[in-house]
């Protein structure tokens, strides 16, 4: 395995992100001339500039923030569970959020809620559902002697199955229109981007981007084993509690504003680890940047591929990411065989 120096990788990832932002702003149902970007922050009433300011920019920011959040939380979960296959949905947060959102769509669909308010209610439902599920999983796995990571894994599976069943029940009893909206939401979609949603997710994600990388060294020690980490002076129990809480908050908010975008949290940290190794001091920021790039590109694809119609972002994420990841795995395998 050939590794890139972490700093080189981070610089490359930032450049990639800038390119993805420019691409994301310019492409869509209406192509915009690159020159218009210079007027992005002007007060013109030019149609293209208005599209940039009111539609494209919030959507690009939303995709970036959600992607960064999901991927860095994924990196943290994989470290905490010492399992490269872990992802944020393991602690129940995604399925809980799904259930919360479906419940709001189901009960709200009768006609109380409409328009913008309904979207906000769905997001709130998702956020609360995610937090409740995580709290349950965490409680189930905690005893006086500490939190057992393997019990948490099992509890996560159980809670995920339970909320999945409940979500299916809502789907079963829902009418066609509701059913379509529930399943659309589960595919993950950013089409409801607006500045207030950007505000909500920024409040959650920006602190996360500061707090998570600070736990990098401790997470490196955790990879050795919990008891080894303790012998290295890490307060393991409080670290676990902190990381679970931050992840639940981060993923809860991300899922609330963008629906269930699977895959980013699992694949991006994995990809970054293949490129620069498992050191969390670089893995977490690297995953955040690359997660932002992946979701941004996927969303740009979702907007442009079948314009003026839109594809669900989560579907494009998997369509784009999976073949790329498989290619990377094949390349790794070839190198090992040589």
């Amino acid at each position: 395995m050939h590794r890139l120096p972490p700093r080189t990788f981070l610089i490359g990832a930032w450049l990639l992100l800038v390119a993805a932002v420019v691409l994301g702003l310019l492409s869509g149902p209406v192509s915009i001339a690159p020159g218009k970007l210079l007027e992005l922050f002007s007060r013109q009433s030019d149609m293209d500039v208005r599209i940039l300011q009111d539609l494209r920019l919030p959507r690009v920011l939303l995709a970036m923030l959600a992607g960064a959040c999901l991927a860095s939380c994924g990196a943290v979960m994989q470290g905490l569970f010492r399992n490269p296959l872990a992802d944020p949905s393991l602690i129940g947060v995604s399925s809980g959020a799904s259930l919360g959102a479906s419940a709001v769509i189901f009960f709200g669909g009768v006609g109380f809620l409409s328009g913008v308010f309904e979207l906000t209610a769905i997001a709130a439902g998702a956020f609360i559902g995610g937090l409740v599920a995580t709290a349950l999983v965490y409680r189930l796995a905690s005893t006086i002697t500490g939190t057992s990571v393997s019990t948490m894994l099992l509890a996560g599976i159980a809670i995920t199955a339970l909320s999945g069943a409940a979500t299916s029940l809502f789907g079963f009893f829902a009418d066609n229109e509701m059913l379509r909206r529930i399943s659309l939401w589960q595919m993950g979609n950013l089409d409801s981007a607006n500045w207030s949603r950007v505000g909500i997710i920024a409040v959650a994600v920006l602190p996360l981007m500061v707090l998570l990388p600070r736990e990098g060294r401790a997470l490196n020690a955790i990879l050795l084993g919990e008891s080894e980490a303790r012998h290295l002076g890490i307060a393991v129990e409080s670290l676990k509690g902190r990381l679970i809480l931050l992840t639940a908050l981060g993923v809860g908010v991300a899922v609330a504003v963008s629906g269930v975008v699977a895959f980013v949290g699992l694949i991006v940290p994995h990809l970054v680890r293949l490129m620069i190794g498992p050191d969390h001091r670089y893995l977490i920021p690297g995953s955040a940047i690359l997660g932002a790039v992946l979701l941004l590109l996927a969303d740009t694809g979702a907007r442009s591929l079948m314009a003026p119609a839109e594809l669900p972002t989560g579907v494009v994420t998997a369509l784009l990411g999976a073949p790329f990841f498989v290619a990377l795995l094949l390349q790794q395998r070839r190198k090992v065989l040589e």
Binding site: M1, R82, N83, P84, R217, A218, N220, A221, L223, L224, G225, S227, E228, R230, H231, L232, G233, I234, A235, R273, G277, P278, D279
Partner: protein, 256 residues
């Protein structure tokens, strides 16, 4: 420096350890021997503060083991567990560098210590190799280098202690010898060394003080020459043995 007074441990109604008294002294190697399930690893867990004793106390550098801040404790006490599972592709250098986490000595000094520690375990050539692709013995040597790096130099907080749980189980003859040399040279620097070991002859060769655990109690303790007798080996291990003198080192040798 590390004292255990009347330690007892009960877990789920079973009494795992009873009335253990023990002094790990600076500059000496203390070896703990005993049959499987005698409580060696449990004793280690109590001594490192990982588990609280049901009764009795552990005092380290003049303070109860639980009263130390984890980070301060980690600067003085390094522990090598029996099995370490690490499934992520860190390089040997990265693993050993983890041993410097409790310290704030700076990157340059840490890199030197990591070099020295890897050299000490005959692992200089492993430097950039991936842990996940190493043999069992190489992995164990890298882990040993990690705990050595953790207590490489004296610190202001107090005297240093190194605890090893069967450090030689995956080693070939040369690396077993190397481990004994390392323990000895650490002791000469004033580090207290506590080692759990299965091979009685290795224990006899490396230890200044031998502690024999049997069914959760201390069956005997003292210098290897006094402790290792045919009677004790019959009582503790249920094996008939003859004790000879190692012609090279003058230490007792168990023939069974």
């Amino acid at each position: 420096m590390l004292l255990a007074r009347n330690l007892s441990l009960n877990v789920a109604g079973f009494s795992l350890l009873r009335n253990i008294n023990l002094d790990v002294e600076p500059g000496k190697v203390t070896a703990v021997i005993g049959a499987n399930g005698a409580g060696k690893t449990s004793l280690l867990r109590l001594l490192t503060g990982e588990q609280k004793a049901s009764d009795g106390e552990v005092v380290f550098n003049g303070r109860g083991i639980g009263d130390w801040q984890p980070q301060h404790l980690a600067r003085m006490m390094a522990v090598l567990p029996q099995h370490s599972r690490l499934d992520f592709p860190f390089t040997a250098r990265e693993v050993v560098t983890l041993g410097r986490i409790p310290h704030a000595t700076g990157l340059v000094r840490d890199a030197q210590i990591v070099n020295d520690a890897l050299q000490a375990v005959d692992g200089g050539y492993l430097d950039k190799r991936y842990y996940t692709q190493m043999s069992g013995g190489e992995k164990q040597r890298v882990q040993l280098a990690r705990v050595l790096a953790q207590i490489w130099e004296p610190v202001d907080d107090g005297q240093r202690v190194l605890m090893l749980d069967e450090p030689t189980s995956a080693f070939d003859l040369a690396h077993q010898q190397l481990t004994l040399t390392i323990m000895r040279s650490l002791a000469e620097q004033g580090v207290g060394v506590l080692v759990v070991i299965h091979d009685l002859n290795l224990a006899a060769r490396c230890a200044d003080q031998l502690l024999v655990l049997s069914c959760g109690e201390i069956a005997a303790s003292g210098e290897p020459g006094e402790v290792l007798t045919p009677e004790l080996i019959r009582d503790v291990f249920h094996v008939e043995a003859t004790i000879a003198v190692n012609p090279l080192t003058g230490t007792p040798m168990v023939l069974a």
